[in-house]
Amino acid sequence: MTSTEPLIRLESVSKEYRLGFWLHRRVHALRDLTMDVRRGEVFGLLGPNGAGKSTTIKILMNLVRATRGTATLFGQAPSNREMRRRLGFVPENPAPYEYLTGREFLSLAASLAEVPRREIRSRVDEVLAAVNMERAGNLRIRRYSKGMIQRIAIGQALVHRPELLVLDEPTSGLDPLGRKLVRDLILSERRRGTTILFSSHIISDVEAVCERVAVLVGGKLVRSGGVAELLTNQVPVAEVVVEGLTAEVVRSLGTAVQQVEALDGRLRVRVADDQVDQFIGAVMARGGRIRQLQPERFSLEDMFLSALQEAGPRGTVGGEISE
């Protein structure tokens, strides 16, 4: 495998789950997903609950098998054992063995990842420090809070210094401090050159750390590309605060008014950026006053919401069910 080839590649991957006693109901969790993750980048998988993010990750981690299509990591099938030495994985709601202490669990993870025995202790100490768990390392995991479990799960994924880190909803359910710690860990791994695939429905987290994203809705890929590129492709909008006119009058001005919101005797109006001049002229002509004009910065959240809207009802439920 050359260094320019994608580290992760999915080609027309689909997954159907069969449900019911006679297995006659089919849930299409993923449909024809094609995407790749390049070496050294932080790639975000975005989507609402049931979009297929976890299914995608489970296929890559060999936890479920794709019904159709091919998935490769480092140019190998997900079932390849040798390849798994090079990756670390944190599942959604991780469940480490709770009868072990954090230190014992990390040692077990290091042994499973074939870290040389003489290095295990130092690696465990190093990882406990990295996830800020030195003081709780000798405590049974049964006594850990959710945030501590998440940190120890991240620790087990890092203990063998993987080249690829796959994180499924790593910040879900964490308090702001815990989320920051996870984000900082991701950024520090990126600096080390680790490739990271990161799934989340918390858009601000994805926006903070990812270079490229793919948006899944109802098991289908609806957007993908660099974060900056996706945001510049959005039609810019300006927010104008108007005084002295009613909402009805503003709506009837003839320009492309996207949204009007009454605000304590004023109106906050969202207008397409290329029509702002025309809108201001129309407001002045009707005797209104402009109190504020502010271009709106597009966020990944706007892009995500517009992708959801385009997907229609598919965007709010899990995989499609057929008999």
Binding site: K58, M61, L112
Partner: protein
Amino acid sequence: MNAFLATAWNGFREARRNRVTVVVGVFALITLALATLVTQVTVVTFRRVMVDTGLGLMSLILVFLSIFLSSGLLAREIERRTIFLVVTKPISRSMFLWARYAGNLLTLLVLQVVMTAIFAAEMALYRFPLGPAVWASLGMLAVELFVVTAIGFLCSSFLGQTVSAVVTVGLYFAGHLSGDLYRFATKAGGFMSTLGHAVYFALPNLDRLNYRPLATYDVVPGWDIALKSAGYGLAYGIGLLVVASVIFERRDFK
């Protein structure tokens, strides 16, 4: 190999830290120690009663523990998702299954060794040495645990925890009655005979591994017969584990 040993040792550690295992283990040791009380109600057959009670208790408790530890193990790992953090490491699913099996077996064997030591001490107290018949029975009990644990693992590889436990218990009893099934099948004719024999060969013949009656009456079994029985048990257990591995390798962990 390191990963195999680490997983097996972790299984042993899990059982050791499981309250049920500890409570059952302590209960077994106390019960075994108190088994001498049965000599109070017998007149001349001290040895026979002590051997029968001791081996019976060991068998009952170890088989219960074997079913408890094995029948829900894989299903529990999947339901709790602890398996996600293990099988995504460079360890195959089959290796994980065999290593967990080895860990379970190690727990049972350690417990059996401790129970045997107490039982031997008790017998020594009454100046009854453990003869070859008793040792053969103890060896065959280990083989029976090998088979019962393998049944638990097979069921657990594709069933939920409760169903797996029920099926394992059912197969244990069916395994002890399969000899009768063979006799019925031989007497019956036609299709019922074929069906009966097929079911007999599919079920484990656990009665073949029960050497307790021989030990009670101090009858030393022929080594050829004992070896054949042990070979049968080991082959049957390994066969079940191979099937469990194939199922486990192929299934989805949703």
